[in-house]
């Protein structure tokens, strides 16, 4: 019944594919002004500006005060924000941005191209992803205060998609210049160009933003205040949605088991828009140096034993899309529709294990192996329990190993003392940024989380990924990614399972909260509330 709910909803929305951002969804209603929006967030941010950190809680809050050059519609097509026009040279090496005039920072100082140049250089140095995203930036020219030109040494076809407020924040040069960005207090009390002013941040509790009366769009923002509450407990968030003390939350902010019950409540709305900027794909990741999983046959056997649909149903109540490949189904341009050649077939699995030399012992067990899991996400343990149950049937005895996040990162990425683990990666806005890092042999970097943890090394794959990273022709680029996924499916360096469905839950009085690809991670300048 929940599946039906989603398909009919999706069908209804497909008919209104969002090309016009400002129209929001089905309203001819006139936006009302005023009110306070209560935004429930799942965890505490470590900084209110996503400059040195890209943790989701920081991303959620950063864009409210600090904006980006562009915005994107649901298909990740760019729209104006701080930049009003842009031109990319045919060779893909010059990006010229015309900047919006008469924009002021919250402290009254003007926004100019100098801030853009400074921010991009800063992102290159301290931003966890910016280093790679802007790696090819040779310089940022500022011929006049309202023009910024990014000059690249090599093409970067993903760059134009990287310019949302949360991903590439444009920060005030006059506040960061000459200071240490890691400890600059702007991260605790941000000044930016955004529609909301920072009011207060009580750690462990909440952050409050207020309407910026001098915002560059005189009609925006529409609400008076945004209160961001950090509520770590999913049950508490459920209660808050129910009794109306919480207006909006995203990334499925309640326990999946609660969704059915909440969907029956008339005052709640569930939407899937605004989640296309960072699809996640959950995988079972192998350590290709493990004594067991270095053997292709063993990996194939495990692949034969996992029924993705059953797993999705068991651990996520079906809230997600099965994916055989690491590029999420949501990234339609690059996702390969090919299925894994290793379908659910326990007999084949057993045969392969026998062939690999791991026969069943007198106790019916072929070998014992520990399984780790990324502790973020309530479903992690369940996936391991599911895996343990199914692998038990083919004679592999799995022992689940628990540890906290830091110990997990150290074990998998630094010490590499693992055999296989349940993990998840965000595709981010482009496979070069989100997917290459996992399968590119040159990104095998011990000590760096979410790098090539498996130690996968295939020169053909390397060539494809490196080619796609600088390929300007979208058709050629797409083919490179498809070819990569074909090899991936055969070699099974890890097993992609599913892409979680991230729902935004909101009170029906909230409108136009997610007109862009990044949904509520945007500056939410257009959101308005019923009286």
């Amino acid at each position: 019944m929940t599946a039906n709910f989603l398909t009919t909803r999706r069908a209804a929305l497909a008919g209104l594919s969002a090309t016009a951002l400002t129209a929001g969804r089905v309203h001819a209603q006139v936006p009302k002004k005023g009110g306070t929006l209560t935004f429930l967030q799942n965890a505490e941010p470590t900084s209110l500006v996503s400059l040195t950190t890209v943790g989701t809680p920081s991303l959620t809050n950063s864009a409210k005060t600090t904006e980006g050059l562009l915005e994107y519609d649901y298909d990740i097509k760019p729209k104006p924000a701080l930049a009003t026009e842009w031109k990319i040279s045919p060779d893909g090496l010059r990006y010229e941005f015309k900047l919006r005039p008469n924009v002021k920072f919250h402290d009254g100082k003007p926004f100019t191209s100098a801030d853009v140049a400074y921010s991009i250089q800063l992102l290159r140095t301290v931003h966890p992803r910016g280093r790679n995203t802007f790696a090819n930036v040779a310089e940022v020219q500022t011929p006049d205060p309202l023009t910024a030109v990014i000059v690249l040494s090599k093409p970067a076809p993903y760059l134009i998609k990287a310019l949302t407020a949360a991903e590439s924040p444009i920060v005030p040069k006059h506040i960061y210049e000459g200071t240490d960005p890691l400890t600059n207090q702007n991260g605790n009390a941000p000044i930016g160009t955004g529609p909301y002013l920072f009011k207060e941040w009580v750690r462990g509790s909440h952050a409050i933003f207020e309407r910026n009366p001098n915002y560059w769009d005189p009609d925006l923002p529409r609400i008076d205040r945004m209160v961001c509450k950090f509520v770590r407990d999913a049950g508490a968030r459920s209660v808050a949605f129910e009794n109306g003390s919480g207006d909006i939350g995203y990334r499925t902010p309640v326990a999946l088991a609660d969704l059915d019950r909440l969907k029956k409540l008339p005052h709640l709305v569930f939407e899937t828009e605004g989640t296309s900027y960072s699809y996640n794909v959950q995988t079972i990741q192998f350590n290709l140096d493990s004594q067991y999983f270095r053997h292709l046959k063993v990996r194939q056997a495990v692949a034969h034993a996992i029924d993705r649909s059953a797993l999705l149903k068991a651990v996520a109540y079906g809230y997600g899309t099965v994916s055989h490949v690491p590029i999420a189904p949501g990234l339609k341009e690059f996702h390969s529709p090919e299925l894994s050649p290793y379908g659910y077939d326990l007999k084949k699995a057993e045969a392969l294990l026998d062939e690999a030399g791991f026969k069943r012992g007198p106790d019916k067990i072929r070998f014992r192996v520990p399984m780790d899991f990324n502790p973020i996400g309530d479903e992690s343990r369940k996936v391991c329990e599911f895996t343990r149950a199914v692998l038990n049937r083919i004679g592999i005895a799995v022992e689940i190993r628990a540890q906290d996040l830091s110990a997990f990162a150290k074990r998998v990425y630094t010490d590499r003392e693992f055999d296989f683990t349940y993990n998840g990666h965000s595709n981010l806005f482009d496979p070069t940024v989100g997917v290459q890092r996992i399968y590119w042999s040159k990104n095998f970097k011990r000590g760096v989380p979410f790098s090539n943890g498996s130690n996968y090394n295939n020169p053909k794959v390397d060539a494809l990924l490196e080619g796609a990273a600088v390929e300007n022709d979208p058709v050629k680029r797409r083919q490179m990614f498809l070819d990569f996924q074909k090899i991936y499916l055969e070699e099974v360096p890890d097993i992609s399972l599913y892409s979680p469905l991230y729902l935004t839950i909101k009170n029906k009085r909230v409108h136009e909260d997610s007109p862009t690809a990044d949904g509520v991670e945007s500056n939410m300048s257009r959101v308005w509330l019923d009286a």
């Binding site: 209560t38 505490e44 470590t46 900084s47 040195t52 950190t53 890209v54 943790g55 989701t56 140095t125 301290v126 931003h127 966890p128 992803r129 280093r131 790679n132 240490d180 890691l182 400890t183 207090q185 991260g187 605790n188 009580v202 750690r203 462990g204 509790s205 909440h206 409050i208 205040r225 209160v227 509450k229 509520v231 770590r232 407990d233 049950g235 508490a236 209660v239 808050a240 009794n243 003390s245 973020i376 906290d404 996040l405 830091s406 110990a407 997990f408 990162a409 150290k410 074990r411 630094t414 990666h425 965000s426 981010l428 890092r437 970097k445 000590g447 760096v448 989380p449 979410f450 790098s451």
Partner: protein
């Protein structure tokens, strides 16, 4: 002994004793914490879902995480000597600020819970002692024993189901209605409403402890000589209970309560997590998981300081309650 001189002696003794103890605690804890795998940079990178070797190196270098252990320890002690608890890489703020944000919340919660537990515990224990062996005692004994046996957080969960979910009378998260601007009585009422369930969850266990203790002590005291003298003097039995038995029973009770107060910081971890109470317990847990040693050591230091303080307070309280207690 005169009270004033007594206080001075106790304080002096404590100070001489306390400083090396706290120092020892800090050093040992620091070394012990190094055994935890991973560091703050690992956590921040993993939480974020992305990292590069360079940004992690930058962070480590900035916060001295790549230094050898003894260098870090020396640096920490150096800061401590200047009454500076250091800087948190995770929260990007000074440790003192972070702790001060949360400390009042924990103090409020614990003092409320303990105060409530003491009050109820003493009353219940007195009633049990007064009617010892008869049915009020027996019934209350069962109730008290149940309270003693139920996990506090479970009591909290059941209370949430009843008062928050089913009845909707009380909130189940945080310590106030965020974003509201109450003043005066409305403010107090809002804070109080949020305080009820967490304090109840914490207090349930303590009520049982104090009740049992008061009962046992009062029964013990009743059989002593001076009580028989008081009886012989013809004093009203209830007055006897109140003035003499209770006063003497308060000694072990306050000792235990003092110990509990001293354990203020770690004791509330589970309840604070359950109710999203922004207190020190949750802060400590977050610091452990986030490998934020600066904050964690700050919390541990504060905790040991509080224990020592609590011990001093108990000593002085005892001297007042029973002047016969001489030098320990």
């Amino acid at each position: 002994m005169r009270m004033g001189r007594r206080i001075a002696r106790t304080l002096r003794r404590t100070a001489i004793h306390a400083v090396p103890t706290m120092l020892g605690i800090v050093v040992l804890d620091f070394l012990f914490l190094q055994l935890m795998p991973g560091d703050a940079a690992d956590v921040i990178a993993t939480e974020a879902g992305s990292a590069t070797a360079e940004t992690m190196a930058l962070m480590r270098e900035r916060f001295g995480l790549d230094q050898p252990v003894l260098t870090q320890l020396a640096s920490f002690l150096g800061h401590l000597a200047r009454f500076d608890l250091g800087y948190s890489p995770r929260f990007n703020a000074s440790v003192v600020d972070i702790i001060m944000e949360r400390l009042p919340n924990t103090v409020l919660l614990m003092v409320t819970a303990l105060g409530f537990a003491l009050l109820v515990g003493i009353v219940v224990g007195s009633v049990m002692a007064a009617w010892a062996g008869r049915w009020p005692d027996r019934i209350l004994s069962v109730v008290v024993l149940l309270l003693y046996s139920m996990p506090g957080f479970w009591v909290g969960l059941m209370a949430v189901v009843l008062f928050s979910v089913k009845l909707g009378w009380l909130p189940n998260d945080s310590n106030m209605t965020i974003g509201s601007s109450f003043t005066g009585w409305a403010l107090i009422a809002d804070r109080a409403a949020h305080l009820v369930l967490p304090a109840l969850a914490l207090a349930s266990f303590f009520v049982a402890v104090y009740a049992r203790l008061v009962r046992a002590s009062m029964l013990e005291v009743q059989r002593q000589d001076f009580m028989r003298t008081a009886h012989a003097k013809g004093l009203h039995p209830f007055l006897i209970q109140l003035r003499h038995a209770l006063r003497n029973a308060l000694i072990p009770v306050t000792t235990v309560a003092g110990m509990h107060l001293g354990n203020l910081l770690g004791g509330a971890v589970v309840v604070e997590t359950l109710f999203g109470w922004p207190g020190m317990g949750r802060l400590a847990l977050e610091a452990v998981l986030g490998r934020d040693f600066s904050v964690l050591l700050g919390v541990l230091l504060l905790s040991s300081f509080l224990v020592i303080l609590a011990n001093v307070a108990i000593d002085l309280l005892h001297a007042w309650l029973d002047p016969r207690i001489g030098e320990a």
